[in-house]
């Protein structure tokens, strides 16, 4: 067990966002929280990252190094690609390896304003990778990307995961992303949000036009629209 959440409640004043969540994440798992916008997904990740305090409940954390891929890249505009990583990790060798891993080699001396949206998100991913995480949080990391770039980055991320096997906790409102990325999908309700259902994905899903993939996608969509 790398993360255990028991009876988690989060309210902002009288406004309850998260209503009694219970979940456990095992080491090496890829868990996706799938739910509508504004259901408290990001709030949950912020609690795990220590940026918010829960109102009620218990959280047990078993990881040491956290990587966080933010929804918007949160890069330092006046620092180059390399320096944005140097903020987190000084080891030049490690930076070089990670930049190669996320296919940003050759752009080390570019500033964030000189690279595309997809590359910024790759740098966001690189920053999370450079800490050599045992737990990786991804907060709707592909929202602002077009489908082609999104697919490229998702494929690369899965390749990286195959090599490094860190635990992943991702939130999204996109069913396709959830099915592609997760071993386990937790479907959330509207606020005050509850975990409605847990779905395990057992097929190999690299092809998003595959019949199993499309079947799973439509099954989840039907459930969410009910």
């Amino acid at each position: 067990m790398i993360l255990k959440v028991e009876g988690l409640v989060k309210s902002f004043g009288n406004f309850e966002v998260i209503h009694h969540w219970n979940l456990t994440v095992e080491e090496g798992e890829k868990v996706v929280l799938l739910g509508p916008s504004g259901c408290g997904k990001t709030t949950f990740l912020r609690i795990i990252a220590g940026l918010e305090k829960p109102t009620e409940g218990k959280i047990e954390i078993g990881f040491e190094r956290l990587g966080f891929v933010f929804q918007e890249p949160r890069l330092i505009p006046w620092k180059t690609v390399r320096d944005n990583l140097r903020l987190i990790e000084e080891d030049e060798g490690k930076i070089k390896t990670i930049l190669e891993l996320v296919k940003l080699n050759g752009f080390e001396d570019h500033f964030p304003s000189q690279i595309s949206g997809g590359m910024k998100q790759r740098l966001n991913l690189a920053r999370a990778m450079v800490v050599d995480p045992d737990f990786m949080i991804l907060d709707e990391p592909f929202t602002s990307l077009d489908i082609k770039v999104k697919m490229e980055i998702m494929e690369d991320l899965m390749e990286i995961w195959e090599k490094r096997r860190f635990t992943m906790l991702m939130v999204t409102h996109d069913v396709k992303e959830a099915v592609y990325m997760g071993d386990r999908i937790l479907i959330l309700s509207k606020i005050p949000s509850k975990i409605l259902r847990e779905i395990r994905i057992n097929f190999i899903r690299r092809d998003i036009t595959n019949r199993d993939f499309l079947g799973m996608e439509s099954r989840i969509l039907r459930f969410m629209l009910e």
Binding site: L51, F70, I76, P77, W78, K79, F111
Partner: protein, 243 residues
Amino acid sequence: MRILLGLLIFFGSWLILSMMLSQSLILPTPMETFSALVEILRDSTTYSAMLSTIAKGFMILGLIIAVGLPVGFVMGLSDKIYELLRPTVMIIQSVPVISWLALVIFMWGIGWKGPVLIGFLSLLPISIFTIVEGVRSIDRDLLEMVKVYRVPKIKVFKYVYIGSLIPFIKAVVDVSVGNVWKTVLVTEFLCGDRGLGVMISWARQYVDVPRIYAITLMAVGLGIGTERIAKKLMSLTTRRWGM
């Protein structure tokens, strides 16, 4: 080319206006002014006066950077410190120069300390409040990001705070450089023992209006020159931050 044309328009208008007024006591012609300027520049004491004014100006700028920036930074970081110090800074901002003048004359008499202190106090509040605004406008998302990755404070200061504050530091330098010579000349005029302001004061006593205009031209040159140098220095510094 356009600058030359602009200067030509300025001096041409000055010439026409002075000829229309035809009263050297109010507006001498550019020729009278330039001849007074040549005379001033031939006098070796002019250079020591100019150096004295420059030294005071740089002393004020140094104090603004050494005091205004850190105080503004701390006030921007902490609401409690802001509320504690704000009344003092606002009082300093509101006190008329003439009151400071009375105070420094009682304390030190005429000399260099008065102009430096008054110049410093006149420019300090705006530099503090500019930096406070800068600190408050730092991207909260970046601060959260460094918190998640537990980046050491010294690195956060170097990478995030300084970089975010560069445009505000630039604004402080721009405003201070633009105003420091005016402040120094006024305070030298009122309580200085040496400097261009004192030279204007003496020229006024002798009703030597072309001389006043000539010294003013020197002060304008000083202002433009330092502004250019400051801009160059700032752009060299900010290049390090990719700005």
